[in-house]
Structure formats: structure tokens, C-alpha cells
Symmetry: D2
Subunit: 379 residues, 4 copies
């Protein structure tokens, strides 16, 4: 089974995690490497893109000269490696001022501060050619203190404002919002992909806003049943390829649920998804350049293997036969067509043989086993 080489034809992107992209300090703690160093390391192993936090480039209190210097170093690293910035992100981790919410904090000044921070992150991204800016998950500690309807209004107001800002600046940036069941400090405002999509539809410029999501970030069960809906309406702006085993972070892509990962990759292949493939690595391995090489190589290797399996699923004659046998191909056919009185009358008097229909439902297990074989590499 052939496996993709890193970066060869896929938009593999990486960003700094809590430890990925860090180095060990003499005191035994870890510290992040400079973003340009991370870019050189990723470029060496063939990555396509890097996701950057706003304050990796424009930390609070940076002078214009420092900002320019940082932008310059990153630009050089991008030029040198041929990489792109896949997205910028508004980072809130480590800022206690945002512990009770950002765009939906009960404190109006905090809300304004968060919007300003996002504007600066968008500026940085535009400067570096990023097409996407990723907004943080909203959550609050005290349910009592926050009307959920007001919170939705404030979230909408903030994003409408940011879209207005982007247009006014002449940027082509699009915004991504997360669908996360676990937000910082309390119940999440937007816990599910469906809720996020529904929210986007209420915005002034819905076409500018989509989702950054994946298997590990959505509350809804059912694997890709959620990503599918985002894909169906063209709203999957960035897919996160990660995996959680239960509620634990997991060291690499698909190490938790191979089947879920397979069905997600299959869906991406079938729908010709061509956005970034962002590996969200919540690992705690160190090892500098060698460690990055191992991890990036492993993730892209696994992804490539799943793509090959998805293609095999489409082409394998026995799987095609099993699909037909269990009726899967029939699902694309209309059941009744659009309603018209004649169709209604006809259906209301149609006679069905429930016994015969029940009897037909008998060979799905063959397909399931073929998929198990495919995932395990037995075919």
C-alpha cells in the first residue's frame, strides 16, 4: 500500500501545541521555540503550512520595530521553506482577563479588548498572507451571570464587526469559529458543529465565516456526522486531524479511534475537500528537530494510508458488490420525489410487504467486515 510523502500533494499544516514546538530549558521546564525556527523545522520535513498565534508574532507590549522584525523573520522562513501560514489564531491561553469569556464576557471592556486583540491577529495574518483567522472558543464560568441569548447577540456583534473590519482593510481573510464541547472555564457557547453552522447563518456576511473543527472537537457522537453537514454547505474552512481517547489527549493522529479517522478521511476524499489538513498535536514528547520529524512523518504517513484505504473502498470490486447488495447505492435515489397531490394519494394507498422488506436487511455485516478488513490492512 503506497503512502503519501509528507507535503507531496497534501496541504499538511501544523501549529504549536502545549509541548509540540517547544524546547527543554535548563530548569527542566519547556519553552516555545521561536515561530521562525518552528517553520524551518517543519519545512525540513515537507510540511505545507503553519498555524501561528497572534502573540507569537505580536506579543502584548511589542514595539512596532519588534513586530516588524518578527514579521520579517517569519517571512524569510516562509520564503526559504516554501511554506505558507495556513491560518493565524487569536490566542487567549494564559490571559486571566479572558477567563470569564472574551466576546461574550459580562464585562463590556473585556469584550472590546478581545475584539481589538482579534483585529491585531487578523492584521498579522494579512501581513503574512494567511487566508484564514481562527477565533477562540467561548465559555463562561457562571451560567447564572450570563443570559445565553444575550451572549449569542454579543458573539454575533463581535464577528460582524470583525468581518466589517476585514472588508474595510481590503483583506481577503476568512474567519473560522470552533465547535468545541470543552471550552475554557465553563459550558461552551458553541458546542456543536450544527450550532456553529446555525449561528453563521445569522451573521451579516455569512460567506466570510466557516468552521475549524474535526473529530475531537465536536460534542456530537457519530464520528463524521457533523463534519458532513459542514462540508455539505461549504463551511469546513479548516479540518483538525486529531484524536482523543475518552477525554484524554492522544499523542498522534487517529491513535484513539482508527475507524472514526477512516470515515472522516473517506468523507474528505469523497467530497474533494481541498482545505488545510491541520494536525492538532496535543503531545508531550520532546526531542527537538528529531521529534518533530518523527511526529510529522507519522501523522502524514497515517493520513496517507487512510486516503489509500478510502480510495480502495471506492474501487474494490468486492466492497462495491457488498455496497450494492446491502442497498447502499440506492440511498442516492429519491424516495418519493417532490410532493404533488397525485404522489400523495398514490403513496397513501401503496401496499407494503413489511416481512419481505425486513428479510432483505440481511447482508450489511458483510460490508462491515470488509471495512474492518480494509482498516486492519487485511485487504
Amino acid at each position: 500500500m503506497s503512502v503519501f510523502e509528507p507535503g507531496a500533494e497534501r496541504k499538511f499544516a501544523f501549529g504549536r501545541g502545549p509541548i509540540f514546538g517547544s524546547v527543554l530549558m535548563p530548569d527542566g521546564r519547556v519553552a516555545p521555540v521561536e515561530p521562525w525556527e518552528l517553520i524551518y523545522q517543519l519545512g525540513d520535513v515537507g510540511a505545507w503550512g503553519v498555524a501561528l498565534h497572534d502573540d507569537e508574532i505580536a506579543p502584548s507590549g511589542a514595539t512596532p520595530a519588534e513586530l516588524d522584525d518578527n514579521l520579517d523573520k517569519v517571512s524569510k522562513a516562509l520564503d526559504s521553506t516554501g511554506m505558507v501560514v495556513s491560518m493565524t489564531r487569536t490566542n487567549l491561553t494564559g490571559y486571566p482577563v479572558f477567563d470569564h469569556g472574551t466576546f461574550t464576557s459580562v464585562d463590556r471592556e473585556v469584550r472590546r479588548y478581545a475584539i481589538q486583540k482579534a483585529m491585531r491577529g487578523i492584521d498579522v495574518g494579512a501581513e503574512l498572507g494567511a487566508e484564514l483567522h481562527d477565533l477562540p472558543a467561548e465559555g463562561v464560568s457562571s451560567v447564572a451571570a450570563r443570559s445565553p441569548l444575550d451572549a449569542l447577540d454579543r458573539y454575533r456583534e463581535a464577528i460582524d464587526f470583525l468581518c466589517g473590519y476585514i472588508c474595510d482593510q481590503g483583506y481577503s481573510t476568512r474567519l473560522a469559529i470552533p465547535a468545541k464541547s470543552a471550552a475554557r472555564h465553563g459550558g461552551p457557547l458553541i458546542a456543536t458543529i450544527g450550532r456553529a453552522l446555525c449561528f453563521v447563518n445569522t451573521l451579516d456576511r455569512p460567506e466570510m465565516v466557516g468552521l475549524n473543527t474535526g473529530l475531537a472537537h465536536q460534542a456530537s457522537p457519530g464520528g463524521c456526522h457533523g463534519v458532513d453537514q459542514a462540508l455539505a454547505v461549504g463551511k469546513l474552512f479548516n479540518v483538525e486531524l486529531n484524536a482523543h481517547a475518552g477525554h484524554e489527549p492522544s499523542p498522534g493522529f487517529c491513535s484513539a479511534s482508527v475507524s472514526d479517522a477512516f470515515f472522516l478521511v473517506k468523507l474528505l476524499v469523497e467530497t474533494n475537500y481541498d482545505g488545510p489538513l491541520h494536525f492538532d498535536l496535543d503531545v508531550n514528547y520532546l526531542g527537538g528537530a528529531a521529534g518533530i520529524c518523527d511526529l510529522v512523518g507519522g501523522c502524514t504517513r497515517t493520513y496517507g494510508a487512510l486516503v489509500a484505504k478510502a480510495k480502495r473502498f471506492a474501487d474494490d470490486p468486492e466492497i462495491r458488490d457488498a455496497l450494492t447488495e446491502c442497498g447502499a447505492t440506492e440511498l442516492a435515489e429519491p424516495s418519493v420525489g417532490p410532493f404533488c397531490p397525485d404522489a400523495g394519494r398514490a403513496l397513501s394507498v401503496e401496499r407494503f410487504d413489511a416481512l419481505a422488506m425486513t428479510s432483505r436487511r440481511c447482508r450489511g455485516q458483510r460490508l462491515d467486515q470488509l471495512v474492518a478488513d480494509l482498516v486492519l490492512g487485511l485487504r
Copy 2:
């Protein structure tokens, strides 16, 4: 603290559960009581409405005469008790033909059969004056056999067809779809409230379709954060008042999470929800009329107590003071208003004192404790 009397001013509705509404048979098993008997029993304890399954009135194979007889008996019971049918429901439990899906089965004939069954249920509801018809949760065993995008298309087609049928018949029925994280046999098609709302927006007649949901049926965490969004867009057609402790059914309303129930009721009160208050009782207590009286009395008593607590939350001077103190009332104020270049420029250069803002966040625990006191009856 005053508590509502059952039915006095609230639309309390009940339907048959696996055991609620059943009687013990001589062989030691349970059997459902006839629907008209259930109506008389519920009427005796002051219930407002009853939810009926289609085949409680129109079982498979019933003759027109039998159907008329059933309709007649139910109508008499409704007249006699002054109750209404709050909704009819398409029942699929116990039909193996639907084990692999209904409107989205891979078998086209099964899909047509399911639509026909729903049409009959809608007919029964219209005959009995029900304003709402509740559709079943969709789910399938084999992920491999079903394209999620095709499944969404089939689900949409079925509901569009049913809406067309309703209009053509001149009914005023509206449809409710569930948002359930646990469907029969496999991953659910519509697991979350947000997904359901998003789906409704794609229908031919979105105004005819809303949600039947509540605390126990949604995948998203965060209590009412999901019901809020349905309420915000006028799509909560029927609220289910139930409770699950972990993944276990729970014998009465709010026996699992009192706080979640409180915040849900508070939200219903604040938004002036006036639809049915449907108690979805997944209990296994028997006891005939006496048992029903106890259960209905308990559920409505608890609901009434939570309404009283919600009103107290709004009126209590100390709670109002704590809300103001922690900034909660500020959340209704715009953060930045609509974007305009001047507003953007002003915000981008505004200076914020993060330290002062962080320091302000210090008194939310007083509000949280007041809510704990309120829930526990200490104030």
C-alpha cells in the same frame, strides 16, 4: 413558596412511556392501557394534554371501522376531560423493518413505507385536533453503508413531502423533529439541536418544522445552551421535561440535575415559552391511577417550584444586586456596535488596563452561591 396546581395554568402534557401508562397483566408482564383510559386517568389529575402514538389509534391492519371506533373513544375522553392531544407521534418501536433507518434507510421501499406511516399519523392527529406531529429520531447500524450526505438529502425529501401533504390536506399541523444523541441502532443523523436547526433552514417550508427537545435529548453539554438557540429562532415547538443521570433514565423530572432543570425552566420563563410542557417519563413504577396521580403531581409540583424560583431570581433584591455587581446586566449592551471605519480605528488604538479588568472579575461567586441557596430553598 407557592406551587402550581397540576394543569391550572400550564400546558402540562404526558404520553405513554415504556411503563408509565401500562398495567400489570396476569402473566407478570406489563401491557399498555388503552389511550382513552390513559386520558381519563390524566384528566383526573388535571393534565392539559396527551401525546399519542399513531398506532395507539391506528394499529397496523386496523379496519376503517376500528379506526373510527378508536377515534371516537379518544374524542369522547378528550371532551369529557377537557384535555387536548398535544401532539401525535410516528411510532417505530417494535418494528424490525425500521431497525436500519426510516426516512434514510438504504432500502427505498422502507423509506416510502415510513413516509406513508407518518402520513397516517398526521391524519390521526388532524382528526383529533393535534397541532403538532412528532417524527422519530433517525439512526443506522452501518456507517459504511450510508453516505451521510445522501442521508441528509433523503431526510429533507421526506419532510418536504410530508409538509406538502399537510398543506394539500388543509391541515394546520406543524412537524417536530428530535435532536437526540442516542438513536435506535447506531449513530444518530441529527444528534444536536444546532444540527436540527441548521437542517430545518434547508427545507422547502422551514416555518412548518421545529424541534421537540429538552435536557436529556441533546448531545451538547451546557444545560440549556442549545434549547436557548431553538428558542431564539422560535423553533422550540415542544419542550421535553425529563432528566438523565449519566446515561441512565431517571424516574422523574429533574431528579438528576436540579441545577440544569432550574436553568432550563428559568429560560422558558424568561422567554415566555407557551408551548406544551411535555413530561417524558421513562419510569418503571406501576400503580395504576394512584401511581399516575403521584407521578403527575410530583412532576408538576417540581416544575411549579422551579418556576417560582425563576421568578424569585428575577425579583430578589440581593440577587439583582449580585447580578449588577458582577456585570451580568451589562451583557445586553452592545460591545462595539455595527462596524464603521471610524469605530474600527477608534477600537484599534484604544488602551485597555488588563490588570484593572482582571481585578474586576472578583465577585461572581456571590451570585453563584445565591443561586445555590435559591435552588436548595435557603432563600
Copy 3:
């Protein structure tokens, strides 16, 4: 990669599930096949054992003649196929009298009735040569009505009594208790493997009682971290090979989490587990003998493939090298040995280089990727 043939050398066992082992009736519902028919069907595909419910042989109200006749038919089927009864089980499903608990019901008469039913099931098993009898999971609806400490006392009393009965009858039967996070009707009494083991230690004859458990039945996360402890103390009497995707039943072995299944099988191989390999099939596919053939073939094929992968894990030179490299082989070495004052003094003044130790931890991802490759069939 070679794959075991069904039954060739493994103790593959099956029992009836809600649909597995059922046939479609003319009214469109399903009914269980007679147990001897199931045995012939399983024997045809090379199964080793069958698990039988007590009332499949001795239904309530059966005459002694009917019981003898059933025993006779099962014995003939066993003889003819060469199969064994891997265990008998006390079945409580469908008996409302047990809805509020069995051995720990608040009703003393119900408790006695449940013990009597278990005695009859044990008799049936002894008659058929079963070495194991499986007791049901305990749970109750009303937490308020039941003191958990009293409930534990009653559970212990019942099992001590049954062990006494078994010894008195001269049977060699051992008892299995489940560790289930989801019991019928309310919180489970014994939710975890650890709790079950701890409980067994308090019994009069702890050597007679062990566990029937597996991946899908335990509350604790961490895959085999639970089964391991049962294995370590010789208490895994029957392993259940099943899989749940989230809270949904899953159609075949390991269709939910391939990695969890792999690590469980690896553990069984490494510890030379030689008890029954019981496939607990919660499927809803029908299909008579052909369907059973497909399912049994698929489950045993997957199991065999995982055994082969586990052996490959042990033998593969690169994996062995990665294990050594990341220190895995060191874990079998004592850290400090038994305490003695000298060892304590020496350790208390030992100097550690935390930085060097942290730096060493850098190549675990190579091993993880080799495992991913192994599971996916890439090596």
C-alpha cells in the same frame, strides 16, 4: 498475514443477543430460534461454545418433562456439533418483577425469588456441563430507597448462598459477576472491574467467583486498564469481546475502537488467557444461517488478525528496538526494591539530573507510530 479459522484452536463462544440468533416471524417481528437450532448453526461455522440463558432451557412454568426434553435436545446438539456450553446465565430481561433489583431489591421476597431463579439456572448449567454461571448486573431505580451499604450486604449474602448451594450439590460450577456501568433501571451496584474484584475478596468463597467483562462493559477509561487487574489476580473467568461506539451498540467486534481491541487482545495473548472468547453481539442484522456464518466468520477473523498483530508486536525487530529505545523494557525492573533503612537513606540523598531525564523522553512517538502501522496493516 494468516488469520485463524473459526474454532480451530480458540474457544470462540456466542450467545443469543436481542436479534442475533433470532428469526423473522410472519408478523414482521423477530423471535428467538430454539437454542438447539442456534447450536447447530454455530457448530456449522466452527464455534467452540454457546452461552445459554436459564429460561431458554427452563422457562417459567415448564413441566419436568418439558425441561428434560429441552435438555435432551440441547445435549444432542452439543454432541452432534462437538460444542460445549461455555456458560449459563440468569436472565432477567422482560421480567418486570426484577425492574427494581434482584439480589438487592428492597422487597425481600423478590430477593429470594431471584436467588431461586439463579439456583435453577445453575442446575441447568451443571446438567449441560457448563463450568461457569453468569449472574446479572444489579441496579435500582430509586437511590433514596436503597442504602448502598445494605445493598452490598445483600449482594454478598446472595452470592455466598449460591456458592454454598453449588458446593452442596457437588457441582464444579464457578460464578461470574459483571462489571457494568450501565445497569437496567438506575445506577449500577458494581460499575467497575475494580469494584467487582474488591467485592469478590469479601466473599466466603472468593475462589469460586470471578468476572465476566470486556471493553464495553466497564466504566473505567483506559482500554484494558481494568481487564489487566482482573487478569493479574486470575479473576477474568470470561472475556466479552464487543465494542461500543460512544453509547451505541456496535455491530461487530472492534468496529468501534480498533486500538482498544488490539491492546486487549495483546494483553490476552501476553498473559496466556485461555478462557472463553465470548462475542457479545448486539447486532440487528438478520439472515438466518447465512447471517450467522457471516458474523461469526467476521468476528473470529478480526480476532485472529489481532492475535497475529500482537505476535508481530512481540517479534518485530524494529518494534523491539523502539521498545528498548523508549525504555519500555525497563519497567519490569524494580525501582528501589524492598525498603530497608540503608536503601531509604541512600535514596534520600541521591542526586538526580532532571534535565537529563527529561531529555531522554524523546522517542516514544516512534513506537506509537509503529503500533499505528501495525494496526493499519502497514507493517
Copy 4:
């Protein structure tokens, strides 16, 4: 309803959380207050005990003089406030060297380093008169790299060594191990209370080791079903009073599930638990002394209210009547007594009236509603 004053008669204890016990720094981040300052603050609001991390007193690299100075300041604060150190804890947070495990790390030197660190924490505790030392939860990133059976052996070896050390030093310290479903970095070694108890039984000196656990730390569902078993065998050394809403930390005691908290407190009252009542506050409210006063006051107030409700449960005539009516009091009676052949024979031929038994099960909902009323303050 009267409510306990903080500290009046209860062993209320607190320790530093991620934010509780911290102060806001000029750069907008938070920093822990010195432990003696926390003691003075807690003493002012009537707390009984404080839990201290080893490195709050003996940070890595501290000179003997610094250590003495810290011990001296803490001792003075304890004397001045009349408080005790309820337990010391081995802290591992923020030490990357322990990211892959402590006592069960694959690196033998790391295991020795962790044991040494625990010895020093025990020394600090003994110096300060703490009767309990709390060990950290074990977890690892890579399942593949660690044999669970070896890991259990190493964990046992470490704790046996520490017990030997404690005896050798003449300390009276007892050790507490956690039962946590979510450990740092990967699947937990000891996820459940039952597993922890089972493990303790295998130690050299099981009498010296017990559990530090509570509602939010155990994997098993069913509220106090787990704590009960620890209580039953005298192994609940420290109860953690905390609450999680879903997977989110929750700001105060019982803010997530009031019912679970009630049943836990009821159990503690009924079993005369007299160990520390440790509030594990995972809050993100600041506010210095005023904030601590609010939080401590709220937690102890809620606890006191639940104690009062538990006593009311025991004394209320209507609840006592409902308990009798539904048979709850019968659960303390033996079902069958010890086995003897006569008892076995008698039971095997006893005739039961399943119908009558099922009919009896009809009034449990009255009790459940009385509990709901009690929790909500309606009685």
C-alpha cells in the same frame, strides 16, 4: 433551616487550586500567595485545615535554612489560627520530567526521583503534624510502551517502599491514593475507587493506605456508589467535595449536581465519617481575602444545608413512612441467611407469586418526590 458556621464543628479543609489562593500580578497573570498567607486568610474565615503541596514548603533547590524558615512561618500561622495541616501532597504539576509517569515511568531513574520527592513531602508533612500524605494520580502517554501489569508492580513497589520509610522514621503518617478517571497525559492507572481498593489490598501494609476521592474524581457513575465501598471498608481517608458539570470544572461545591451532592453528604452523615471535608476548588475567581471568604463561606454553607437535609431525611415522619411503604427498611434484613442444605432445599421449592410481587412495587415515586422536595427546600 439552620446552617453550620464555617469550622464550627466540621473539619473543613482547603488547599490551593489553580487560581484559588492566588493573587493577581502587575503583568495581568496570577501567582500563588505564600502558604502562610493562605493559612491566615483561611483561618480568618474559620477553616479547620489546609492541604499543602510539598514544594510550597520545600521547593526544588531550597537550602536547609530556607526550608526551616518556611516550616517556621507555616507553624506560626497554624499556631496563630488554630488550624491544622489536613494533608501534604506530592506535587508534580509543571514538571515535564514526570509527564510520562512517576512511580510507573518507563525510566527507572524517574521512578526513583519521584519516590524521593514523595519522601521529602512526607518529611514536610510529619514536621507540620499532617496525618495524611496524598500521592499523585499515575498516567502515561503511550499505552504501547507500558505493560499495565508491570506498571501495577512498580506502583506497589513504590508505595511499599514509602510505607517502610514512614515506619522507619517513626512517623504516624498514612498515605492516600487518588481514584481518578482523568490523569495527566494519558490513560490513568487507577481510574476507579474499586480498583484503588483492590490495589491497596495487595500492599505490604494495607492498613496505612487509603483513598482521597469524591464525586468528581471517580470514573464510575452512580454518585456515591464507589465512595460507599471505600467507607464500608474504612478506606475513605479524605473526601473531596467538589463538582463537575459534564467535563467542566465547576466553581463551587455541588453547583453541578445537587442530588449527587446530597446523597454523598447523606452517606457521610449516616456512616459518621469524621475525616477531613476537603473542598477541592477549581475556580477562577480572584478577589483576595474577600473572595476566599465568599468561597469558603459558600461551600461550608452549602455543606451545612445538605447535612441538615440529610438529618431531616432521617427524621421526617412522612419520609420515614414512604421508606417503609416502599420497602427500603427491609433491605437491612437478610434474604436467605447463610447457606445450609435445608435452607437450599426450602428455597428451591418455595412458590412465589410474581404478580403480587410486581404489584407491590408501586409507591417508590412518592419517596423520590419527597427527596426532590427536600433537596429543593419545599419541606
